[in-house]
């Protein structure tokens, strides 16, 4: 198993590739089927953002270890226009997922850890992590 998998995101076909790779990478860690779907969905959302707003970027998938739990790390980065009002974009309307139409608050809810850095004119980098629950 490679240390990390880079998936260039250019078009919507790449979105499917990214989430399938993510699912495949996470599967052996003992995630439940439901968790794998959450991971794939989160990848789909951030990848879609790249295609919609930045036109081009990449998703880097890798594994991580922390205090004897294993998890998957997803980094989504692009050199797009950046997000001017990050707080607004990350606003979590619980029952209405309007925001700015970005699936970011949603993706955040699906993952265990979520960090976003964005600079207007520079681009955006998102780091998301999900840890496999230890089965007894």
């Amino acid at each position: 198993m490679a240390d990390e998998i880079r998936v260039p995101i250019d078009s919507d076909a790449d979105i499917v590739a990214a989430r399938q790779q993510g699912r495949a990478l996470a599967a052996p860690l003992g995630f439940t089927g439901a968790d794998l779907t959450l991971i794939a969905t989160a990848i789909s959302e951030v990848a879609r953002n790249i295609v919609a707003y930045a036109k081009r970027g990449e998703i880097v998938l890798s594994l991580a270890n922390q205090d004897s739990r294993r998890g998957v790390v997803i980094v989504a980065r692009d050199d797009g226009p950046g997000i001017p009002d990050l707080a607004l974009a990350m606003q979590d309307g619980y029952s209405t997922s309007r925001g700015l139409g970005l699936g970011l608050p949603g993706a955040k809810r699906l993952m265990d850890e979520f960090d976003i850095v964005s600079q207007v004119g520079e681009g955006t980098t998102i780091v998301m992590k999900k840890w496999a629950r230890q089965r007894g």
């Binding site: 619980y94 029952s95 007894g136």
Partner: protein
């Protein structure tokens, strides 16, 4: 002697001390090991072990510890602790037994060092400097393995409790009932939802009566969990009727601002089931008619 030279002479003698201590403990293996077993027996720490088991295990442990001192590597101790945990041995023993046993061994080793170096305080001090970190490290390894094993057991039990407390029952064809009882945290809400969704698929259910009479406290978080459960069920084609909404809960839901047009609620379980029947096209016929029908059929 200055502090600096005291330190260097200590490190130098430490290097020479290790083999000396190891040789001492190996030489004294039998008497010390027996002493250890006697002390453990006196404290009642070997209850549940046969004398043969006590003999073999104590010999293995003694040897493993001396090896740690000799090599400075703790793989042996770690492997032993892991093996004990995996074999469930730690599960069958009390914390008193496990820790007590190792604490006793630590004392037995310690006392033997005192006995050996009693004439020379400087050497004794040096010997303890070498010995104590090793003894403490081994103890931590054992203690942590024990704690981890216990934690695993607790998690398994919690999992079992969770599963027991959220059964999904099929009332009739197409109708499921989900009695929700107790505290709903995120973890439980998730389990509840997953269980319900799988049951909807397995039973091809079209209506679910979710009774929340037994839910401990309904705050905005719990309300949202329940709402999400209802929404997820609906995506699978099943309507959820929430029953057991007390006056207090109703007030809480309204205060929270839950969109009630999205929620089908009724105050009691029976009403919920009646409504479910109605939607599914079921009619419950009273007993007399059924008896009459039976007679009719038999009379043919």
């Amino acid at each position: 002697m200055t502090d600096q030279s005291k330190k260097t002479s200590r490190t130098e003698s430490a290097g020479a001390l290790v083999p000396e201590l190891v040789a001492h403990l190996r030489e004294k293996q039998e008497p010390l090991r027996r002493q250890w077993v006697e002390q453990m027996t006196a404290k009642g720490l070997l209850a549940g072990l046969t004398p043969e088991e006590a003999e073999t295990e104590s010999a293995t442990i003694y040897d493993t510890c001396v090896r740690c001192l000799e090599t400075g590597q703790y793989d042996g101790a770690q492997a032993y602790a892991t093996r004990m945990a995996e074999r469930g041995i730690l599960r069958a023993m009390t914390s008193e037994q496990v820790l007590g046993g190792f604490l006793t061994l630590r004392d037995v080793y310690g006392r033997s060092l005192f006995a050996r170096y009693q004439g020379d305080l400087a050497r004794l001090s040096a010997a303890l400097d070498v010995y104590e970190p090793v003894a403490n490290k081994i103890l931590s390894i054992v203690a942590l393995a024990f704690i981890e094993e216990r934690t695993k057991v607790i998690q398994q039990q919690q999992e079992a409790i969770r599963e027991l407390s959220t059964p999904v029952l099929q009332l009739r064809e197409g109708l499921l009932m989900l009695p929700v009882i107790g505290m709903i945290d995120t973890q439980r809400a998730r389990q509840l939802t997953e269980g319900l969704l799988c049951a909807i698929r397995a039973n091809r259910a079209r209506v679910v009566v979710m009774d929340i009479t037994g839910v401990a406290a309904v705050d905005s978080k719990v309300a949202n969990h329940l709402l999400q459960t209802v929404q997820a069920a609906r995506l699978m084609g099943a309507t959820v009727i929430v029953t057991g909404v007390s006056a207090a809960v109703a007030q809480a839901l309204v205060a929270i601002g839950v969109d009630l047009t999205r929620l089908d609620t009724l105050s009691d379980l029976q009403s919920g089931i009646d409504e479910a029947d109605r939607r599914l096209g079921y009619k419950v016929i009273k007993g007399e008619e059924t008896a009459a029908r039976h007679e009719h059929i038999e009379g043919r």
